[in-house]
């Protein structure tokens, strides 16, 4: 529902980067979307396409990278992907494990033609 607003923020980041590179042309922007970010990747992709269509920024692709929720066990330092909302460490069964990724909503990279 708020994906168009997020798409706008991504385009603003591209515009800011483009202003710093007057001789370059940004053709792709890579964004990491965490499982816990509360963002629908399809809606974000669609919103971004609509936003860029028929503007000077076209062609500009958005590449989304899904980041799963990873947990770390404090006892055995094992990192594992959390599935079915089960936070228990698969090695030792510890219940209280720490979330170490999955909240991302980050611009990772941009591709520039110079």
């Amino acid at each position: 529902m708020h994906e168009l607003g997020i798409a706008t923020s991504i385009l603003e980041c591209v515009q800011a980067e483009a202003a710093r590179r007057p001789n370059g042309r940004i053709t792709k922007v890579g964004v990491k979307v965490g499982e816990l970010a509360g963002v629908d990747p399809d809606a974000l992709q669609f919103g971004f396409e609509v936003l860029v269509k028929d503007t000077e920024w076209e062609p500009l692709a958005l590449e989304l990278e899904y980041v799963p929720r990873m947990q770390r066990c404090p006892k055995c330092a094992y990192d594992f992907q959390m599935t079915e909302f089960d936070p228990r460490c698969p090695l030792c069964g510890e219940y209280s494990t720490e979330c170490i990724s999955g909240e991302e909503l980050d611009i990772a990279y941009m591709e520039v033609e110079e």
């Binding site: 509360g38 909240e103 033609e113």
Partner: protein, 226 residues
């Protein structure tokens, strides 16, 4: 073609503003809470009961967000504390800029507690940091017990879950224990308080939670000033 690493938050502008607000709250020892739930879970009713129980001299203010109407601000203004409505037009969440704009005219040094009632929505508000000390999510007994699993982001990010309308438990098929279990699967150490704004059940515990957090916000202020 050249690939450049950026590593920047998409909502960087909102994040910068939110951090500025957080710093302003910290400097003045203000506790800011952000109440989030689906529409109709009882945020405004809970706030009515909360303000009613506050001491008349309490230094509390409320920002309440909706797409349209001043109805909530009118309901909450009856208790004599400063209240401002934020009408977003069509936007489904509050962002840090809206908060900053609506704080104009209020002096943070005159406040101990700032309550933000977000737009009724379990999805979008979870993405926008408002500079609050704590997000609080409400789940009512007239919803599904699996809401925490369907909308994990907001349950993960909230420090406290208020299970509202518990007076209705004898009349609805809602299984409270299953709802708590689902919430704890998403967020194992989240605090949960059962409340009813109709009967007053659990409100003492809720007021106690608020008080304890206010003491903590003041303690941070003293640490900073010594």
């Amino acid at each position: 073609m050249n690939r450049i690493a950026v590593e920047k938050k998409v909502l960087n502008e909102n994040q910068i503003l939110a951090e500025q607000l957080r710093e302003r709250y910290r400097q003045h020892g203000v506790l800011c809470i952000n109440l989030i739930s689906a529409p109709g879970s009882g945020k405004t009713a809970l706030l009515e009961r909360t303000l009613e129980r506050m001491d008349k001299s309490a230094r509390v203010a409320v920002l309440t967000g909706d797409l349209q109407t001043e109805n909530d601000a009118t309901r909450l203004a009856k208790f004599g504390f400063p209240v401002k409505q934020i009408t977003t037009g069509g936007t489904c969440h509050l962002d840090a800029r809206m908060i900053e704009r609506h704080l104009e005219g209020w002096k943070l040094e005159d406040l101990d507690l700032l309550i933000v009632e977000n737009v009724g929505n379990l999805v979008c508000p979870s993405s926008y940091d408002l500079g609050e000390d704590a997000k609080i999510v409400l789940l009512s007994t007239t919803e599904g017990e699996d809401k925490p699993l369907k909308y994990p982001s907001i349950f993960f990010k909230s420090e406290l879950m208020l299970l509202t309308k518990v007076d209705l438990l004898p009349y609805v098929p809602f299984k409270a224990e299953l709802a708590r279990e689902n919430a704890r699967r998403v967020h194992p150490d989240m605090e949960i308080i059962d409340v009813s704004s109709t009967t007053g059940e659990g409100l003492d515990r809720w007021m106690g939670w608020l008080k304890a957090r206010q003491v903590k916000a003041k303690a941070k202020l003293q640490v900073a000033s010594t």
